[in-house]
Symmetry: C2
Subunit: 207 residues, 2 copies
DNA sequence: GAGAATATGAAGAGGATACTCACATTCATT
DNA sequence: AATGAATGTGAGTATCCTCTTCATATTCTC
Protein backbone atom coordinates (compact mmCIF):
# COMPACT_ATOMS: atom_id res chain seq x y z
CA UNK A 1 0.00 0.00 0.00
CA UNK A 2 1.27 3.41 -0.85
CA UNK A 3 1.53 6.03 1.86
CA UNK A 4 -1.53 5.68 4.01
CA UNK A 5 -3.60 8.73 3.40
CA UNK A 6 -5.72 9.52 6.41
CA UNK A 7 -8.94 8.17 5.03
CA UNK A 8 -11.32 10.71 3.54
CA UNK A 9 -12.16 11.28 7.14
CA UNK A 10 -15.79 10.27 7.23
CA UNK A 11 -18.00 13.21 8.03
CA UNK A 12 -16.40 14.74 11.08
CA UNK A 13 -17.09 17.89 12.97
CA UNK A 14 -13.49 18.49 13.86
CA UNK A 15 -10.23 16.78 12.99
CA UNK A 16 -8.35 15.38 15.94
CA UNK A 17 -4.89 16.91 15.94
CA UNK A 18 -3.15 15.80 19.07
CA UNK A 19 -2.35 12.24 20.04
CA UNK A 20 -4.80 12.44 22.90
CA UNK A 21 -7.77 13.21 20.70
CA UNK A 22 -6.80 10.62 18.15
CA UNK A 23 -6.91 8.05 20.90
CA UNK A 24 -10.29 9.36 22.01
CA UNK A 25 -11.75 9.04 18.55
CA UNK A 26 -10.33 5.57 18.25
CA UNK A 27 -11.79 4.58 21.60
CA UNK A 28 -15.18 5.89 20.55
CA UNK A 29 -15.20 3.94 17.32
CA UNK A 30 -14.04 0.82 19.07
CA UNK A 31 -16.63 1.16 21.80
CA UNK A 32 -19.23 1.86 19.16
CA UNK A 33 -18.41 -1.39 17.40
CA UNK A 34 -18.67 -3.17 20.70
CA UNK A 35 -22.05 -1.72 21.62
CA UNK A 36 -23.40 -2.26 18.13
CA UNK A 37 -22.33 -5.87 18.16
CA UNK A 38 -23.51 -6.54 21.67
CA UNK A 39 -26.81 -4.68 21.79
CA UNK A 40 -27.68 -4.38 18.12
CA UNK A 41 -28.85 -1.26 16.41
CA UNK A 42 -31.64 -1.19 18.97
CA UNK A 43 -29.39 -0.64 21.93
CA UNK A 44 -26.96 1.56 20.11
CA UNK A 45 -27.20 4.95 21.82
CA UNK A 46 -24.60 7.66 21.81
CA UNK A 47 -24.67 7.80 25.60
CA UNK A 48 -23.91 4.12 25.93
CA UNK A 49 -21.10 4.38 23.43
CA UNK A 50 -19.54 7.28 25.28
CA UNK A 51 -19.76 5.44 28.56
CA UNK A 52 -18.31 2.28 27.08
CA UNK A 53 -15.46 4.31 25.66
CA UNK A 54 -14.83 5.87 29.04
CA UNK A 55 -15.39 9.27 27.58
CA UNK A 56 -17.86 12.06 28.14
CA UNK A 57 -20.80 12.33 25.81
CA UNK A 58 -19.60 15.80 24.97
CA UNK A 59 -16.36 14.44 23.59
CA UNK A 60 -18.26 12.20 21.24
CA UNK A 61 -20.13 15.13 19.76
CA UNK A 62 -16.90 17.01 19.52
CA UNK A 63 -15.90 14.79 16.62
CA UNK A 64 -19.03 13.18 15.28
CA UNK A 65 -21.78 15.53 14.17
CA UNK A 66 -24.41 12.93 14.87
CA UNK A 67 -25.19 9.30 15.47
CA UNK A 68 -25.13 8.34 11.82
CA UNK A 69 -21.69 9.73 11.23
CA UNK A 70 -20.45 7.47 14.00
CA UNK A 71 -22.04 4.41 12.47
CA UNK A 72 -20.50 5.24 9.17
CA UNK A 73 -17.07 5.44 10.74
CA UNK A 74 -17.60 2.05 12.34
CA UNK A 75 -18.86 0.58 9.12
CA UNK A 76 -15.97 1.86 7.13
CA UNK A 77 -13.42 0.42 9.50
CA UNK A 78 -15.05 -2.98 9.62
CA UNK A 79 -15.58 -3.23 5.87
CA UNK A 80 -11.97 -2.34 5.18
CA UNK A 81 -10.87 -5.06 7.53
CA UNK A 82 -13.08 -7.77 6.07
CA UNK A 83 -12.22 -6.92 2.51
CA UNK A 84 -8.53 -7.14 3.22
CA UNK A 85 -9.01 -10.57 4.73
CA UNK A 86 -10.76 -11.98 1.69
CA UNK A 87 -8.37 -10.30 -0.65
CA UNK A 88 -5.47 -11.94 1.10
CA UNK A 89 -7.00 -15.37 1.18
CA UNK A 90 -7.88 -15.32 -2.49
CA UNK A 91 -4.65 -13.72 -3.63
CA UNK A 92 -2.19 -15.86 -5.58
CA UNK A 93 -3.08 -19.27 -6.83
CA UNK A 94 -3.11 -21.91 -4.18
CA UNK A 95 -4.66 -25.32 -3.65
CA UNK A 96 -8.33 -25.32 -2.81
CA UNK A 97 -7.84 -26.61 0.68
CA UNK A 98 -5.30 -24.01 1.53
CA UNK A 99 -7.56 -21.27 0.28
CA UNK A 100 -10.38 -22.61 2.41
CA UNK A 101 -8.18 -22.78 5.46
CA UNK A 102 -6.92 -19.25 5.10
CA UNK A 103 -10.36 -17.92 4.40
CA UNK A 104 -11.78 -19.57 7.49
CA UNK A 105 -8.92 -18.38 9.62
CA UNK A 106 -9.26 -14.85 8.37
CA UNK A 107 -13.01 -14.64 8.68
CA UNK A 108 -12.92 -16.05 12.17
CA UNK A 109 -10.34 -13.48 13.09
CA UNK A 110 -12.42 -10.70 11.66
CA UNK A 111 -15.46 -11.76 13.66
CA UNK A 112 -14.05 -12.99 16.92
CA UNK A 113 -13.83 -9.56 18.50
CA UNK A 114 -17.23 -8.25 17.52
CA UNK A 115 -19.17 -11.38 16.65
CA UNK A 116 -22.32 -9.91 15.20
CA UNK A 117 -21.08 -6.55 14.04
CA UNK A 118 -21.05 -7.66 10.44
CA UNK A 119 -24.68 -8.74 10.48
CA UNK A 120 -25.88 -5.70 12.30
CA UNK A 121 -24.00 -3.42 9.97
CA UNK A 122 -25.45 -5.10 6.92
CA UNK A 123 -28.98 -5.74 8.06
CA UNK A 124 -30.02 -3.41 10.83
CA UNK A 125 -28.04 -0.23 10.86
CA UNK A 126 -29.46 2.41 8.54
CA UNK A 127 -27.36 4.01 5.88
CA UNK A 128 -28.83 7.27 4.78
CA UNK A 129 -27.29 9.59 2.31
CA UNK A 130 -24.01 8.72 0.65
CA UNK A 131 -23.33 5.62 2.67
CA UNK A 132 -25.88 3.77 0.63
CA UNK A 133 -23.46 3.78 -2.26
CA UNK A 134 -20.51 2.69 -0.18
CA UNK A 135 -22.64 -0.04 1.25
CA UNK A 136 -23.55 -1.44 -2.13
CA UNK A 137 -20.01 -1.11 -3.35
CA UNK A 138 -18.75 -3.09 -0.40
CA UNK A 139 -21.26 -5.84 -1.05
CA UNK A 140 -20.23 -5.93 -4.67
CA UNK A 141 -16.52 -6.15 -4.01
CA UNK A 142 -17.13 -8.64 -1.25
CA UNK A 143 -18.99 -10.94 -3.61
CA UNK A 144 -16.47 -10.38 -6.36
CA UNK A 145 -13.73 -11.88 -4.28
CA UNK A 146 -15.80 -14.92 -3.52
CA UNK A 147 -16.78 -15.20 -7.15
CA UNK A 148 -13.16 -15.08 -8.20
CA UNK A 149 -12.39 -17.95 -5.89
CA UNK A 150 -15.34 -19.94 -7.11
CA UNK A 151 -14.29 -19.41 -10.69
CA UNK A 152 -10.80 -20.52 -9.90
CA UNK A 153 -11.70 -23.84 -8.32
CA UNK A 154 -14.79 -24.63 -10.29
CA UNK A 155 -14.51 -25.06 -14.04
CA UNK A 156 -18.21 -24.67 -14.64
CA UNK A 157 -18.78 -21.16 -15.96
CA UNK A 158 -22.43 -21.02 -15.01
CA UNK A 159 -23.91 -19.99 -11.70
CA UNK A 160 -20.67 -18.49 -10.50
CA UNK A 161 -22.42 -15.56 -8.96
CA UNK A 162 -25.05 -17.65 -7.24
CA UNK A 163 -22.39 -19.95 -5.92
CA UNK A 164 -20.46 -17.03 -4.52
CA UNK A 165 -23.58 -15.84 -2.77
CA UNK A 166 -24.34 -19.25 -1.35
CA UNK A 167 -20.80 -19.78 -0.23
CA UNK A 168 -20.40 -16.43 1.45
CA UNK A 169 -23.69 -16.59 3.29
CA UNK A 170 -23.04 -20.15 4.39
CA UNK A 171 -19.67 -19.20 5.81
CA UNK A 172 -21.14 -16.16 7.50
CA UNK A 173 -23.96 -18.22 8.92
CA UNK A 174 -21.67 -20.76 10.47
CA UNK A 175 -19.33 -18.18 11.92
CA UNK A 176 -22.09 -16.01 13.24
CA UNK A 177 -23.72 -18.97 14.87
CA UNK A 178 -20.49 -20.22 16.37
CA UNK A 179 -19.71 -16.78 17.71
CA UNK A 180 -23.04 -16.61 19.50
CA UNK A 181 -22.23 -19.82 21.26
CA UNK A 182 -18.62 -19.02 22.01
CA UNK A 183 -17.42 -21.82 19.80
CA UNK A 184 -15.32 -19.85 17.40
CA UNK A 185 -12.13 -21.37 18.76
CA UNK A 186 -13.26 -24.97 18.62
CA UNK A 187 -10.81 -26.56 16.17
CA UNK A 188 -13.20 -29.25 15.01
CA UNK A 189 -15.64 -26.57 14.00
CA UNK A 190 -13.00 -24.82 11.96
CA UNK A 191 -12.09 -28.10 10.37
CA UNK A 192 -15.65 -28.83 9.44
CA UNK A 193 -16.11 -25.41 7.98
CA UNK A 194 -13.05 -25.91 5.82
CA UNK A 195 -14.56 -29.24 4.86
CA UNK A 196 -17.82 -27.61 3.88
CA UNK A 197 -16.12 -25.10 1.64
CA UNK A 198 -13.88 -27.65 0.02
CA UNK A 199 -16.69 -30.10 -0.56
CA UNK A 200 -18.89 -27.49 -2.13
CA UNK A 201 -16.21 -26.09 -4.38
CA UNK A 202 -14.76 -29.39 -5.45
CA UNK A 203 -18.33 -30.45 -6.15
CA UNK A 204 -19.34 -34.00 -5.45
CA UNK A 205 -21.20 -35.47 -8.35
CA UNK A 206 -23.25 -38.03 -6.42
CA UNK A 207 -26.95 -38.42 -7.05
CA UNK B 1 -52.21 -31.93 9.91
CA UNK B 2 -54.03 -33.99 12.49
CA UNK B 3 -56.52 -32.20 14.70
CA UNK B 4 -54.58 -29.36 16.22
CA UNK B 5 -55.09 -29.45 19.93
CA UNK B 6 -55.19 -25.97 21.38
CA UNK B 7 -51.67 -25.83 22.75
CA UNK B 8 -51.10 -25.58 26.49
CA UNK B 9 -52.13 -22.00 26.02
CA UNK B 10 -48.97 -20.07 26.84
CA UNK B 11 -49.39 -17.70 29.75
CA UNK B 12 -52.63 -15.91 29.03
CA UNK B 13 -54.74 -13.50 30.97
CA UNK B 14 -57.99 -14.80 29.61
CA UNK B 15 -58.93 -17.65 27.34
CA UNK B 16 -60.62 -16.64 24.10
CA UNK B 17 -63.93 -18.48 23.92
CA UNK B 18 -65.77 -17.19 20.93
CA UNK B 19 -64.65 -17.40 17.33
CA UNK B 20 -64.24 -13.67 17.23
CA UNK B 21 -61.70 -13.52 20.02
CA UNK B 22 -59.82 -16.53 18.70
CA UNK B 23 -59.39 -14.67 15.46
CA UNK B 24 -58.22 -11.62 17.37
CA UNK B 25 -55.59 -13.55 19.26
CA UNK B 26 -54.45 -15.16 16.05
CA UNK B 27 -54.21 -11.77 14.35
CA UNK B 28 -52.16 -10.43 17.22
CA UNK B 29 -49.69 -13.30 17.14
CA UNK B 30 -49.40 -13.08 13.39
CA UNK B 31 -48.88 -9.33 13.47
CA UNK B 32 -46.39 -9.81 16.27
CA UNK B 33 -44.36 -12.20 14.15
CA UNK B 34 -44.48 -9.69 11.34
CA UNK B 35 -43.31 -6.76 13.43
CA UNK B 36 -40.63 -8.83 15.11
CA UNK B 37 -39.29 -10.00 11.80
CA UNK B 38 -39.49 -6.64 10.15
CA UNK B 39 -38.29 -4.31 12.89
CA UNK B 40 -36.37 -6.68 15.13
CA UNK B 41 -36.66 -6.86 18.87
CA UNK B 42 -35.80 -3.18 18.91
CA UNK B 43 -38.88 -2.08 17.05
CA UNK B 44 -41.14 -4.58 18.68
CA UNK B 45 -43.62 -2.53 20.69
CA UNK B 46 -47.02 -3.62 21.84
CA UNK B 47 -48.59 -0.55 20.29
CA UNK B 48 -47.13 -1.33 16.89
CA UNK B 49 -48.27 -4.91 17.09
CA UNK B 50 -51.80 -3.90 17.96
CA UNK B 51 -51.91 -1.44 15.12
CA UNK B 52 -50.50 -3.96 12.66
CA UNK B 53 -53.11 -6.45 13.79
CA UNK B 54 -55.84 -3.89 13.25
CA UNK B 55 -56.82 -4.21 16.87
CA UNK B 56 -56.93 -1.89 19.83
CA UNK B 57 -54.05 -1.98 22.25
CA UNK B 58 -56.55 -2.82 24.92
CA UNK B 59 -57.52 -6.02 23.18
CA UNK B 60 -53.93 -7.12 23.18
CA UNK B 61 -53.67 -6.74 26.93
CA UNK B 62 -56.95 -8.52 27.29
CA UNK B 63 -55.22 -11.76 26.39
CA UNK B 64 -51.53 -11.27 26.97
CA UNK B 65 -50.49 -10.15 30.43
CA UNK B 66 -47.39 -8.47 29.10
CA UNK B 67 -44.99 -8.11 26.22
CA UNK B 68 -43.01 -11.20 27.10
CA UNK B 69 -46.03 -13.46 27.09
CA UNK B 70 -46.70 -12.33 23.56
CA UNK B 71 -43.18 -13.09 22.43
CA UNK B 72 -43.43 -16.51 23.98
CA UNK B 73 -46.60 -17.21 22.05
CA UNK B 74 -44.90 -16.17 18.84
CA UNK B 75 -41.87 -18.22 19.64
CA UNK B 76 -43.85 -21.29 20.40
CA UNK B 77 -45.75 -21.12 17.16
CA UNK B 78 -42.67 -20.61 15.04
CA UNK B 79 -40.63 -23.32 16.74
CA UNK B 80 -43.41 -25.83 16.33
CA UNK B 81 -43.56 -25.04 12.67
CA UNK B 82 -39.83 -25.34 12.04
CA UNK B 83 -39.51 -28.54 14.00
CA UNK B 84 -42.28 -30.18 12.04
CA UNK B 85 -40.54 -29.22 8.80
CA UNK B 86 -37.28 -30.85 9.76
CA UNK B 87 -39.01 -33.83 11.21
CA UNK B 88 -40.81 -34.40 7.95
CA UNK B 89 -37.74 -33.99 5.80
CA UNK B 90 -35.68 -36.41 7.85
CA UNK B 91 -38.43 -38.92 8.36
CA UNK B 92 -38.14 -42.27 6.54
CA UNK B 93 -35.03 -43.29 4.76
CA UNK B 94 -34.54 -41.58 1.48
CA UNK B 95 -31.67 -40.82 -0.86
CA UNK B 96 -29.40 -37.99 0.22
CA UNK B 97 -30.39 -35.71 -2.59
CA UNK B 98 -34.04 -36.10 -1.90
CA UNK B 99 -33.53 -35.33 1.75
CA UNK B 100 -31.62 -32.21 0.84
CA UNK B 101 -34.29 -31.09 -1.56
CA UNK B 102 -37.09 -31.57 0.91
CA UNK B 103 -35.15 -29.88 3.67
CA UNK B 104 -34.44 -26.85 1.52
CA UNK B 105 -38.00 -26.62 0.34
CA UNK B 106 -39.33 -26.86 3.87
CA UNK B 107 -36.92 -24.39 5.39
CA UNK B 108 -37.55 -21.90 2.66
CA UNK B 109 -41.25 -22.28 3.23
CA UNK B 110 -40.82 -21.74 6.95
CA UNK B 111 -38.85 -18.55 6.40
CA UNK B 112 -40.44 -16.97 3.38
CA UNK B 113 -43.25 -15.31 5.30
CA UNK B 114 -41.22 -13.88 8.15
CA UNK B 115 -37.68 -13.93 6.83
CA UNK B 116 -35.73 -13.03 9.92
CA UNK B 117 -38.10 -14.12 12.63
CA UNK B 118 -36.03 -17.18 13.34
CA UNK B 119 -32.85 -15.21 13.92
CA UNK B 120 -34.52 -12.56 16.01
CA UNK B 121 -36.21 -15.16 18.12
CA UNK B 122 -32.99 -17.01 18.75
CA UNK B 123 -30.58 -14.14 19.15
CA UNK B 124 -32.32 -10.97 20.17
CA UNK B 125 -35.59 -11.60 21.89
CA UNK B 126 -35.19 -12.21 25.61
CA UNK B 127 -36.53 -15.32 27.22
CA UNK B 128 -36.97 -14.77 30.90
CA UNK B 129 -38.50 -17.23 33.25
CA UNK B 130 -39.56 -20.66 32.05
CA UNK B 131 -39.08 -19.96 28.38
CA UNK B 132 -35.36 -20.40 28.88
CA UNK B 133 -35.90 -24.10 29.20
CA UNK B 134 -38.19 -24.33 26.20
CA UNK B 135 -35.66 -22.37 24.25
CA UNK B 136 -32.85 -24.77 25.02
CA UNK B 137 -35.05 -27.76 24.42
CA UNK B 138 -35.97 -26.45 20.99
CA UNK B 139 -32.32 -25.95 20.12
CA UNK B 140 -31.55 -29.44 21.27
CA UNK B 141 -34.30 -31.11 19.30
CA UNK B 142 -33.53 -28.96 16.32
CA UNK B 143 -29.94 -30.13 16.30
CA UNK B 144 -30.94 -33.70 16.98
CA UNK B 145 -32.83 -33.88 13.74
CA UNK B 146 -29.89 -32.56 11.81
CA UNK B 147 -27.60 -34.93 13.63
CA UNK B 148 -29.83 -37.84 12.75
CA UNK B 149 -29.61 -36.90 9.11
CA UNK B 150 -25.87 -36.48 9.27
CA UNK B 151 -25.50 -39.86 10.91
CA UNK B 152 -27.64 -41.44 8.26
CA UNK B 153 -25.68 -40.22 5.26
CA UNK B 154 -22.25 -40.15 6.78
CA UNK B 155 -20.70 -43.37 8.05
CA UNK B 156 -18.09 -41.59 10.11
CA UNK B 157 -19.25 -41.70 13.70
CA UNK B 158 -17.11 -38.83 14.87
CA UNK B 159 -17.95 -35.15 14.74
CA UNK B 160 -21.60 -35.84 14.09
CA UNK B 161 -22.69 -33.12 16.42
CA UNK B 162 -20.30 -30.56 15.05
CA UNK B 163 -21.35 -31.42 11.55
CA UNK B 164 -24.98 -30.98 12.47
CA UNK B 165 -24.16 -27.57 13.88
CA UNK B 166 -22.20 -26.53 10.83
CA UNK B 167 -24.85 -27.79 8.47
CA UNK B 168 -27.75 -26.15 10.21
CA UNK B 169 -26.08 -22.80 10.59
CA UNK B 170 -24.90 -22.85 6.99
CA UNK B 171 -28.41 -23.55 5.75
CA UNK B 172 -29.82 -20.87 8.00
CA UNK B 173 -27.20 -18.41 6.86
CA UNK B 174 -27.94 -18.92 3.19
CA UNK B 175 -31.69 -18.72 3.66
CA UNK B 176 -31.53 -15.72 5.91
CA UNK B 177 -29.30 -13.93 3.47
CA UNK B 178 -31.45 -14.80 0.49
CA UNK B 179 -34.54 -13.66 2.31
CA UNK B 180 -33.01 -10.27 2.98
CA UNK B 181 -32.42 -9.85 -0.71
CA UNK B 182 -35.73 -11.24 -1.86
CA UNK B 183 -34.06 -14.14 -3.58
CA UNK B 184 -35.74 -16.96 -1.77
CA UNK B 185 -37.64 -17.98 -4.86
CA UNK B 186 -34.71 -18.02 -7.22
CA UNK B 187 -34.54 -21.64 -8.37
CA UNK B 188 -30.81 -21.59 -9.02
CA UNK B 189 -30.24 -20.55 -5.45
CA UNK B 190 -32.30 -23.44 -4.19
CA UNK B 191 -30.41 -25.77 -6.45
CA UNK B 192 -27.09 -24.54 -5.18
CA UNK B 193 -28.15 -24.89 -1.61
CA UNK B 194 -29.16 -28.48 -2.26
CA UNK B 195 -25.78 -28.90 -3.86
CA UNK B 196 -24.02 -27.52 -0.83
CA UNK B 197 -25.79 -29.88 1.52
CA UNK B 198 -25.24 -32.90 -0.68
CA UNK B 199 -21.61 -32.11 -1.24
CA UNK B 200 -20.94 -31.66 2.44
CA UNK B 201 -22.75 -34.79 3.49
CA UNK B 202 -21.40 -37.00 0.77
CA UNK B 203 -18.00 -35.67 1.71
CA UNK B 204 -15.29 -35.00 -0.83
CA UNK B 205 -12.20 -36.86 0.19
CA UNK B 206 -9.49 -34.55 -1.11
CA UNK B 207 -6.75 -33.49 1.25
C1' DG C 1 1.94 32.01 30.00
C1' DA C 2 -1.16 32.79 25.85
C1' DG C 3 -4.10 30.66 22.97
C1' DA C 4 -5.57 26.57 20.90
C1' DA C 5 -7.12 21.93 21.44
C1' DT C 6 -9.52 18.86 24.12
C1' DA C 7 -12.66 17.19 27.65
C1' DT C 8 -16.67 17.51 30.70
C1' DG C 9 -21.56 16.48 32.16
C1' DA C 10 -25.80 18.73 33.70
C1' DA C 11 -29.75 19.98 31.32
C1' DG C 12 -33.26 20.70 27.49
C1' DA C 13 -36.62 19.11 24.60
C1' DG C 14 -38.79 15.64 22.73
C1' DG C 15 -40.48 11.06 21.87
C1' DA C 16 -41.49 6.34 22.76
C1' DT C 17 -42.68 2.92 25.91
C1' DA C 18 -45.73 -0.61 28.55
C1' DC C 19 -49.76 -0.87 30.46
C1' DT C 20 -54.62 0.56 32.74
C1' DC C 21 -59.33 1.52 33.07
C1' DA C 22 -63.83 3.20 32.47
C1' DC C 23 -66.74 2.51 28.99
C1' DA C 24 -68.94 0.73 24.40
C1' DT C 25 -70.18 -3.00 21.61
C1' DT C 26 -71.39 -7.74 20.33
C1' DC C 27 -72.40 -12.27 21.43
C1' DA C 28 -74.85 -16.64 23.43
C1' DT C 29 -78.71 -18.01 25.76
C1' DT C 30 -83.18 -18.07 27.29
C1' DA D 1 -86.34 -9.19 23.49
C1' DA D 2 -83.66 -9.24 27.32
C1' DT D 3 -79.80 -10.18 30.24
C1' DG D 4 -75.26 -11.06 31.50
C1' DA D 5 -71.00 -12.55 29.79
C1' DA D 6 -67.51 -12.00 26.38
C1' DT D 7 -65.11 -8.94 23.70
C1' DG D 8 -63.36 -4.57 22.03
C1' DT D 9 -61.89 0.34 22.54
C1' DG D 10 -58.37 4.16 22.87
C1' DA D 11 -57.34 8.29 25.52
C1' DG D 12 -54.46 8.70 29.24
C1' DT D 13 -50.56 7.89 32.86
C1' DA D 14 -46.20 7.59 34.39
C1' DT D 15 -41.74 6.44 33.30
C1' DC D 16 -37.78 6.02 30.96
C1' DC D 17 -34.44 7.13 27.07
C1' DT D 18 -33.15 9.53 23.40
C1' DC D 19 -29.97 12.93 20.86
C1' DT D 20 -27.78 16.90 21.21
C1' DT D 21 -26.02 21.52 23.11
C1' DC D 22 -23.29 24.69 25.71
C1' DA D 23 -20.94 26.99 29.14
C1' DT D 24 -17.15 25.71 31.66
C1' DA D 25 -12.80 23.23 32.99
C1' DT D 26 -8.58 20.96 31.90
C1' DT D 27 -4.52 19.97 29.14
C1' DC D 28 -1.56 20.62 25.52
C1' DT D 29 1.69 23.28 22.20
C1' DC D 30 4.76 26.82 21.36
Amino acid sequence: MSTRIAKPAARMRKQPRQARSIATVEAIIEAGAHVLSELGWAGFSTNKVAEAAGVSIGSLYQYFPDKLALVEAIRRRHFDHVLSVIREASAEEKPLRQFARELVRGMIGAHSIHPTLHQVLLDEAPGDRGSRAAHASFQARYLEHYAAAVAQYRNRRKDTETMARVLSSAVEGVIHNAARRNMLDAPELQKQLVELISAYLSGSRAT
